[in-house]
Symmetry: C2
Subunit: 351 residues, 2 copies
């Protein structure tokens, strides 16, 4: 298997290095060969090629079976024009490779519940997956333009675009507790009415799955008041952006969350949910768990290597339960280690 490695900016390179070490450890242990090809994206790519997603990087990804990404962005590029901003690299790579399904699991980790802003009895046992449509809706709809006096963005969805993401959610629910919550704003939006209709249609093909519809404003409340009731949440691009970030903070484990952005054929991009954190970059104190768990998602979704994925997840959980953490997440009663030492611990657990 060939993997494109795009470290990006800030702590991206450190956590990606860590994830690569885990990848290599698994390769050795389970007898796989992973070819790694590095390329630039985001601010690093703007600096080098005046383009947040240069053609060279696209070529490397094209020749790969999956993409491992660190993080993009930093204050350095904050005042750049839109086409020279790091995030544009992310938006472009999603669209270019048709990575329509963004999958973000959020699970309460007992060892980290003390750092949740929610009461422990509310946050405990949270275990959900947010499935966000990633290549359509307000992000890409045309017309999208402005004049001196006004501006317009377009929220457009086709039936096919909705079908494929909804199917994805149903398939994931089958491997879990069998419940799908479809989030929309059907009392106001035409796109949401179509969305709801498609969910109702697809439901017929998944009689084993329980389906509920929820308005986006209610969902924003329920994620806080009763997050445990969610299993799989499926929603359109903009709502998904907001709700998945909201969900990412409820368990206190934002620094641990991986994500996958995949295409129908299993090709996908894997990256931590956390950002590039320029303030702690290069200090060997970023927690690489999210990047490592992103590798586990790659094993599962792109390579079908379920045993290996479970081994990686298990190793990270053991290290967390042993009370280890990195400087960025230090808390009382924790054993603080460097990023490198942390990876060593994870690899020891794997062995």
């Amino acid at each position: 298997k060939t993997i494109a490695v795009l470290p990006g900016d800030g702590i991206g390179p450190e956590v990606t290095d860590a994830a690569v070490k885990v990848l290599q450890s698994i390769a050795m242990r389970y007898g796989h060969t992973f070819h790694l090809k590095h390329a630039v994206i985001g601010g690093a790519a703007v600096d080098q090629f005046d383009n947040p997603l240069p053609q060279q990087t696209i070529d490397v990804c094209d020749a790969s079976d999956a993409i491992l990404l660190g993080a993009v962005g930093g204050t350095k590029w904050d005042n750049n024009p839109a086409h020279l901003r790091p995030e544009k690299g992310l938006l472009n790579i999603r669209k270019h490779f048709d990575l329509f399904a963004n999958i973000r699991p959020v699970k309460a980790i007992p060892a980290l519940l003390t750092s949740s802003p929610l009461k422990e009895e509310v946050a405990k046992e949270v275990d959900m997956v947010i499935v966000r449509e990633l290549t359509s809706g307000l992000y890409f709809g045309e017309p999208k333009r402005r004049s001196e006096k006004s501006a317009v963005d377009t929220l457009v969805y086709t039936r096919e675009e909705i079908e494929r993401i909804v199917n994805q959610a149903f398939e994931i629910a089958r491997t879990r507790r069998g419940k799908v919550t479809s989030v929309d704003k059907a009392n106001v939006l035409e796109t949401s009415k179509l969305w709801r209709e498609v969910v109702e249609e697809r439901k017929a093909a998944y009689p084993d799955i329980e389906v509920e519809h929820m308005l986006v404003d209610s969902a924003a409340m329920k994620l806080i008041t009763n997050p445990r009731t969610f299993d799989v949440v499926v929603t359109e691009n903009m709502f998904g952006d907001i709700l998945s970030d909201e969900a990412s903070v409820i368990t206190g484990s934002l620094g641990m969350l991986p994500s996958a952005s995949i295409r129908s054929d299993g090709f996908g991009l894997y990256e931590p949910v956390h950002g590039s954190a320029p303030d702690i970059a290069g200090q060997n104190k970023a927690n690489p768990s999210a990047a490592i768990l992103s590798v586990a998602m790659m094993f599962k979704h792109s390579f079908g290597l379920h045993t290996e994925a479970a081994a990686v997840e298990q190793a990270v959980m053991s290290v967390l339960e042993d009370g280890y953490c990195t400087g960025d997440l230090a808390g009382s009663g924790k054993r603080v280690v460097s990023t490198e030492q942390y990876v060593t611990k994870v690899i020891e657990e794997l062995e």
Copy 2:
């Protein structure tokens, strides 16, 4: 002053009755005359006139200085076609009367913090106002239509629409801690870029106000992890719908929250944030605090009666601090009373 009273559905009539009693108590005590004119809206109006906002109701509002609304909606009308749904009455009245500024204060009430899903140290001292644009954006933009194969909604804003809501936020910030957080998605949306530009322009007229820009996904996180940092939050219609509902649950006092939806000349509609709660309707156990505090907002925003507003707020807070609550919000250590007894307590405090 003439006030249109639109009780609506579910617990709407009970809490509106309660608010009207407080209104009359204030009238007597402070020597005002309020003319009350009742009219129907929502499901009640659909049942009676096949129209969630009948012309009769519009006429009553037209002849009034402010509108007091209970709540609309209920399962009974859930399967109606869009134009015969209770919410449509709300959307229509906002648009018809150009009620562009939705103002929703969220304040932690010490006596209620135990029912917050957030840890007490996170939720305490929360004191913010969300200012949501209410008559434009995705809710009303054209084209808005669907075909068999796709659907489209349009997010459009003019400079003037943004200017007036931003001005409103700046004015409110002046009466508070002097900080405005403008929420947008300027890294993706053209409307957000225009929005951010207008905020930057208007800032010049308010040199005393601190301004920060925040992306909507970050705001969704920060409302949970650090809600105390917000003073006045201003945002467009759809983001405001999501964020104001998210904010409404963080302090555990959803049942207490009032709202105002106002026009430039001070005319406005005042209503509780909570819904019509059909499950407890007619049982004399709904908490009327939000409706009563909506009257206080009416005094402040439409009538300039600041002393009277403060008296109402003070009376409700005293009753809460004395541990009184209604059946719907019963908790340990609380003194449970009926809706009617609760209002009597509030009126006693006023005297």
